[in-house]
Symmetry: C2
Subunit: 198 residues, 2 copies
DNA sequence: ATCTAAATATTAGAATACTAAATAATAATT
DNA sequence: AATTATTATTTAGTATTCTAATATTTAGAT
């Protein structure tokens, strides 16, 4: 019976030994493909229903989330070239979903803003995948929600590990930051120091 | 201390109560975005290094996996229109990565095949993301690998639940199908019957 | 102050992806 | 035989994405 400390939380685990690591990886990849495919189909659905394409939608969401952003920030944030962002913004601007204003501090920069219309569209837009997912997710038990979150964070961390040197272990303690209480009953030595990225 | 049965396996869990379900969902979505973004960046990288675009690569992989496929099967399998598949195949055919043959049984149908060149390219192609991921994944402990797999399968299942009526709970027993042994120590009543999709 | 270099956004041009509609060929049905 | 359905292609139009070139502004150096 293994026991592992996660922040102030203890998890005691007894689990099967999977037959082959390669098979496990294959299962992970299959699941990931399924997830990615589902989101892919979803964004196609959104494109059909809203008349906006996925990049357009994503760009608007990014503007909403980041507030006053420049084109360059949008480009690097979305991993696109500035030219691409410009053309997408052009299309959004002709639909009056976005407007641009040159910065007063640095006249090289241009800020992008959402219009009222766009803000409404984003809030009132159908987000069936997220909604449906959220509904199902909230029906799960706490331990399962926590498990999923930590697993996904771990996977995400491993995937953009290009930028990270050597922190192969998820900071499960992050789960604890909501301020929930937990009592320890057993402790497993944590092999790697937790480390925040960014 | 909650205890849950997963197939023949028992997991005993004591975990924090996350503050707010909405926050949890937000964390899940953020992680998913990170994962999807990582794979997205990866396919861009592949496109740069191999000279092929992501759809082209995916199409070739699909042909390899499915064997003798028609254009329509490729289209539905990849959720694209036949026209799109046709044009992608056109480009692959000019590069001599794919060839087509009209079916003898049903002359409306056209089968797509990989050339030697393509098969080689697929096997020898750099798959650094998967490799890197696989390396890190295999370094994880068994319980963590299992946790990640079941979490991902659960998420994937919830995401394409459009097609599924009402089986909101992951068939964790699937994890057991490798034939590994496990001893039970406690049992938590499983609320939902396991159910295989497809 | 002037010149140079860097940063920033846009434009232009090209390749790809995607869809819908029309077309053509074959198979199945009546 | 005639009609209908299936399958793949072509065509036309829009969107995405990149690189390279351009213009403008800012910052730094002389």
């Amino acid at each position: 019976m293994a026991t592992v400390q996660c922040g102030r939380t203890i998890i005691r685990v007894k689990f099967i030994k999977t037959g082959d690591v390669l098979d496990s990886i294959e299962e992970v990849l299959i699941s990931l493909r399924r997830v990615i495919r589902a989101t892919d189909l979803h964004s196609k659905f959104l494109a059909r229903t809203t008349g906006l394409t996925a990049p357009q939608m994503l760009l608007m969401q990014t503007i909403r989330d980041k507030g006053e952003v420049t084109i360059g920030e949008l480009a690097s944030g979305m991993s696109l070239s500035q030219a691409t962002v410009t053309t997408i913004l052009d299309r959004l601007e002709t639909r009056q979903l976005v407007y641009r204003e040159r910065s007063k501090e640095d006249k090289r920069k241009v800020h992008a803003y959402l219009t009222e219309k766009a803000a409404e569209m984003l809030t009132s837009a159908p987000i069936p995948l997220q909604d449906q997912f959220a509904r199902q997710f909230s029906d799960l038990q706490d331990w399962e929600q926590t498990m999923i979150i930590s697993s996904l964070q771990r996977v995400a961390q491993m995937m953009d590990a290009q930028h990270i040197d050597a922190s192969p272990v998820l900071d499960i303690g992050m789960l604890d930051r909501q301020g929930a209480a937990a009592e320890a009953s057993e402790v497993y030595e944590h092999q790697h120091a937790a480390k925040k990225s960014k």
